[in-house]
């Protein structure tokens, strides 16, 4: 059984149908990439999975539980973390306070401390800036903070929405290396990206989303050499 299974998902914004009945699955340990152009519905899908948007039809099964029937704030404690588009760190709070909020649903102080040390080890720059306000960090540091904050909930799956957005090429490489290493340490990753080339280079499998439908799916390596993908998303 898949860890995460999306079945016949449809989402409406008023009269407009943004997601038109999609199916996909994520298995434990995988990196799954969801690629597509602006407005294809990628962010909508992630928001629906973590309960910020209610779908009109369909189900989101996470280890067998339908997340569409669970209040959004209870989902993180089930082992699913979401790094939202545009990072959305709490700008008026310190780096440390942001990270502590990531562990909001956890109660064991020793375990939280252990996670904090793990995050500091993965992102040494966050440790240096622990007492700085998150709003004063650079874009790349904010992305690291958003990822660190998500890791503080000790998730079994992490959803990442456009982690490379607005970052310099060097930072993009750094962020993707981190995603890979997060996955290597046992966390499943569902990655939404416009940077199709980078996303496919680290993903196991991928789905291509076009105006609310999944049009192509397959192993990431195959998609990298697929002519349709090359033409539309890789600029070759």
């Amino acid at each position: 059984m898949s860890m995460l299974e999306i079945k016949d998902l449809k989402v409406n914004y008023g009269v407009i149908q943004a997601i038109k009945g999609i199916n996909f699955s994520v298995n434990e340990g995988e990196i799954i990439a969801l690629i597509g152009a602006n407005g294809a519905g990628k962010t909508t899908i992630l928001h629906t999975i973590t309960g910020l948007i209610t779908p009109s039809e369909g189900s989101v099964l996470f280890n067998g539980t339908d997340l569409t029937k669970i209040p959004a704030h209870k989902i993180v404690s089930m082992g699913m973390a979401h790094v939202p588009e545009g990072r959305r760190v709490f700008a008026d709070m310190t780096v440390y306070q942001n990270l502590k909020l990531g562990a909001f649903t956890r109660t064991d102080k020793d375990e939280i401390q252990e996670s904090l040390e793990n995050v500091y080890e993965r992102f040494p720059r966050l440790k240096e800036r622990a007492n700085q306000y998150a709003g004063t960090l650079s874009g790349g540091e904010q992305q690291m903070l958003a990822m660190g904050r998500a890791l503080m909930s000790h998730p079994s799956i992490i959803l990442m929405d456009e982690p490379s957005m607005g970052l310099s090429p060097i930072l993009v490489n750094e962020i993707f290396d981190i995603i890979k290493s997060v996955n290597d340490s046992g966390t499943t990753v569902l990655l939404v990206e416009q940077n199709a080339k980078k996303a496919l280079s680290i993903a196991d499998r991928a789905y291509v989303l076009e105006t609310g439908n999944i049009t192509i799916e397959g192993a990431a390596e195959d998609l990298l050499s697929d002519d349709r993908i090359k033409k539309a998303y890789l600029g070759e």
């Binding site: 910020l52 700008a91 709070m93 990531g102 909001f104």
Partner: protein
């Protein structure tokens, strides 16, 4: 000189009451992004509750305040649930604003129906007479001192609560970004309820102090202080807790000093005039943040 000092201290005391009310305005605005215009009337309800228990039934004043706080806290939570929560996702912010004005009129008329329009004599909750300094030249009333001390304690406790507790951090997170807060596992509805509860509980304390300093109570007792406190919150930068405190103190001092040295009739005009000038110069208020969207 001694007279001036007396007026200044009275101004600080009145300002402290405005500040306590303004804290409720500013916290609710920060978290629910709504202006709760019924907040002033919660003070009046708190005042009447203390009037019933302390002045009429002769209960211990402190116990009466505790009961009034509990009553106002419930009132705040229930109003939020019934009147404001269903409108939280309404397309227009005006809907909830108008509802708040409706709740304000409802509470005033409810009090009118139950207690009548005649002012009731309120027994001060502070029985201490106060102190005389400089050979009886400078007299400070007990209620004045208690008001100032209580407001300082409230500010301190609130700051500690927000910065040091889990619920306080949740409030900060919700005030910045409800969606991201939800992703952290924070129950946004519960956090908003808590904010209304705290704001309304503070309103009961403000009611006790206000009615003790000006010892009568009518159904409209809370209306004007409510508006002044709103001005104080905007003046200090709405959403900012220290801002509400500074705005409140400033307003109280200006009001009392202009009443004494300029004109009793013009005092309110001066107070609101200052609001207009400060907002022209610094639209976000004294301690308000410049809102900049990072793209």
């Amino acid at each position: 000189m001694m007279n001036f000092l007396t007026y200044l201290i009275n101004g600080i005391s009145l300002g402290s009451i405005y500040a306590i009310i303004a804290l409720g305005y500013t916290m609710v605005y920060g978290i629910a992004k709504m202006l709760n215009f019924a907040h002033g009337d919660v003070i009046m309800i708190g005042g009447y509750l203390i009037y019933i228990f302390a002045s009429s039934l002769g209960l211990n004043p402190v116990l009466s305040i505790v009961i009034a706080m509990a009553g106002c806290t419930c009132l705040g939570i229930v109003t939020e649930k019934i009147a404001y929560k269903p409108l939280r996702n309404a397309t227009s912010n005006l809907a909830v604003l108008i509802t708040a004005i409706g709740v304000s009129y409802f509470l005033q008329n409810f009090a009118l129906l139950v207690f009548g329009a005649n002012p009731k004599a309120f027994t001060s909750v502070v029985s201490w007479e106060g102190i005389s300094l400089a050979g009886d030249e400078l007299k400070i009333q007990g209620v004045t001192i208690v008001t100032i001390v209580v407001s300082l304690i409230i500010l301190l406790v609130l700051q500690l609560f927000i910065n040091k507790t889990r619920s306080g951090q949740a409030m900060l997170a919700v005030s910045e970004d409800k969606g991201a807060a939800t992703l952290m596992g924070i129950d946004v509805n519960k956090t908003i309820s808590l904010t209304f509860a705290i704001g309304s509980g503070l309103a009961a304390i403000a009611g006790a102090l206000l009615c003790s300093a000006y010892p009568t109570i009518t159904p409209y007792t809370g209306a004007m202080p409510g508006i002044k406190a709103f001005v104080a919150a905007v003046l200090g930068g709405i959403g900012s807790i220290p801002g509400a405190m500074i705005g409140g103190l400033l307003l109280g001092v200006v009001e009392i000093l202009s009443k004494r040295y300029i004109s009793t009739q013009l005092a309110d005009a001066i107070v609101f005039g200052i609001l207009i000038i400060i907002l022209l110069v610094k639209p976000t208020g004294l301690l308000g943040k410049n809102i900049q969207e990072k793209v």
